[in-house]
Symmetry: C2
Subunit: 360 residues, 2 copies
């Protein structure tokens, strides 16, 4: 029924999944009832293709509150999750055999999403300008650069301000910014400004999601884009035909937002995920990342991430080895990704103890 598979005896830090107790089952039920009461039959019929106004208006206001600027519902397109957003963008922005540039390391499941669009993936590399120059010298069209600049999957790190500025100042490159983790910021930390906001929408398209802040099963996310691109997405045959891609869930989310449930839930999430992060980081004696769901742990010299996985599972703990996050798995044997999202603090402490045994 679900994607997660429990493995007896294993504390699994491999899953980037929410902790079950933190999913808002009761509150979502209330929102579903509320949406059907408030919107009536309009909650169940064909929706507005770009997404229902009650959601885009609430979301635009929310985004303006957390990152400044004026709310602009016309710069939002509601998607069936962040992965769907990336698939849609690849289908409209890329022609087959175009190049899409990716960070190294980056969100590993993006590789397949992009490959399904028949594009060729290339590493952006340390010298982005040189990579672009070389590709253009070969007459290759670059559709866009995909990256997760804020509280990244898998590193937990954020792109520094000077590299953000350099990216948004490029006029020759479209950037697809996966901004999934923006709201998962802990302590007094403040998320860095989104590339989308910095660029004023010029060369950046931003992907957002309710999967981490509310629930992955909803399949609800969004694209921040120019009204022209929003119109192009809304004009896709299957989006127009279906009346948007997830109308009933979208109006339920509007009710969840308008009632204050979103704000209350996010406060609870931040406290819980902060405690989980601290449990894992403390037990491993590493610096806790200011946001996101992941630790990107160095593997001791002389060991490999893949080799360590075997040892770790013998000690009853698991994770994702670094190479998964590199294009064609070229790199990353010196790192492992540990997710602190799924397990409660006590189990994370025990998982860390087992991992230390495997490391030693």
């Amino acid at each position: 029924m679900i994607q997660f598979e429990a493995r007896p005896g294993i504390l699994d830090l491999g899953w980037g999944h929410p902790r079950p107790e933190l999913l808002p089952t009761a509150e979502w039920g209330v929102a579903a009832g509320e949406a059907l009461r408030v919107f009536g039959w309009q909650a169940l019929t064909y929706g507005y293709a770009a997404g229902p106004r009650p959601l885009t208006e609430w979301l635009a206001a929310r985004l303006a509150r957390i990152e400044g600027g004026d709310p602009d519902p016309d710069a939002l397109f509601i998607t069936a999750g962040a992965s769907h957003a990336l698939a849609l963008l690849a289908s409209v922005l890329a022609e087959p055999d175009d190049v899409v540039l990716v960070d190294s390391p980056t969100y590993h499941l993006a590789f397949q999403i992009l490959a399904d669009a028949r594009v060729e993936l290339r590493e952006a590399g340390d010298d982005l300008a040189a990579t672009i120059r070389d590709l253009r010298a070969q007459n290759r069209r670059i559709a866009f650069l995909y990256l997760v600049p804020t509280f990244a999957n898998p590193t937990g790190r954020s792109l520094p301000p000077d590299r953000r500025r350099a990216l948004v100042e490029r006029e020759d490159l479209t950037i697809v910014e996966d901004d999934t983790y923006r709201e998962l910021v802990y302590d007094e930390a403040v998320a860095p400004p989104s590339l989308w906001r910095m660029a004023g929408g010029r060369n950046v398209i931003r992907i957002g999601s309710f999967a981490k802040t509310v629930a992955p099963g909803l399949r609800l996310g969004w694209i921040s884009a120019t009204p022209a691109l929003v119109g192009r997405l809304a004009g896709l045959g299957y989006v127009h035909s279906g009346g948007g891609v997830n109308h009933t869930t979208a109006v339920t989310m509007a009710a969840f937002g308008a009632s204050g449930a979103y704000d209350r839930h996010l406060t609870r999430l931040r406290e819980s995920y902060r405690d989980q992060r601290d449990a894992l980081a403390t037990a491993l004696s590493v610096e806790p990342p200011p946001g996101g769901w992941f630790l990107w742990l160095p593997v001791p010299p002389g060991r490999t991430a893949t080799g360590l996985l075997t040892a770790a599972e013998q000690h009853g703990v698991s994770f994702v080895p670094g190479p998964h996050f590199y294009l064609d798995r070229r790199g990353g044997e010196d790192r492992i990704r540990l997710s602190f999202s799924l397990l409660p603090p006590g189990e994370l402490t025990e998982a860390a103890r087992r991992l230390r045994l495997a490391l030693n």
Copy 2:
């Protein structure tokens, strides 16, 4: 917020939308609560990529009940609606520049869905074998034939048994059967067997939907296919990454089905749509179709569908002219599509009166 736009003074038979009073707002709210109670956090986390078992098992049993055979949940892939199913199938079955064959007339919004997959659309024509032979002589690859063989949009007609047999016996052609209207069958009529069932899954893939039987806003449908194709769809990057394409709604539908609400609702729908169909068909003195949502009315000699639309709107009634349902609008000026789904019987009778005024 929604796709439908009311036009003052116009009784609009153009929309293939459900009648608002027939959308199960109260019952869907009950199912949402029930799904969250029964499945708990598993209703909200990442789902099984092909669709949650509670839904595929209920749906397989339902399909076996209405069309015979053994239930097979492994031959089902849950989609975000029928349009999404067609878009997905085009993306996995067709290479850019392949040909997709379409019926004339056929569901008009399918044209754009297919064109977005960068395929070339061609009419199947009266002599399908000749069309295929000619295309192959030109070295064109035919990805599939798309058609709505049962209670079709726009004609309301079903493909006769001999043509069904001829199609499923072809070994050189994949058929995508849009079976959206199967459950909307009136009086004592029985829907013809699906091509999918007749072919035993050999050369036919079937698309189904809950848009007409429950609600379009849910964005929930399915594909009947071989387990191999189901696996290929489930392995698409964005489907795998998202844990299926509409998990929470899918488990809510499972609760709606298991509680008996689906059966009760369908009984009510059939009675209501039958009354609506009868009101329109009687007032226009035409034969009522045994299922579906549409009348495909001949235009009197000497008039055109497009010309009639202008006259009709002056009399306060609207519809979709026939050419919309023909590839590149080549044909159909002799027909108009009237939908009896949206309006109650009294308004359909009045709409017919206005249409007769425009016709005379």
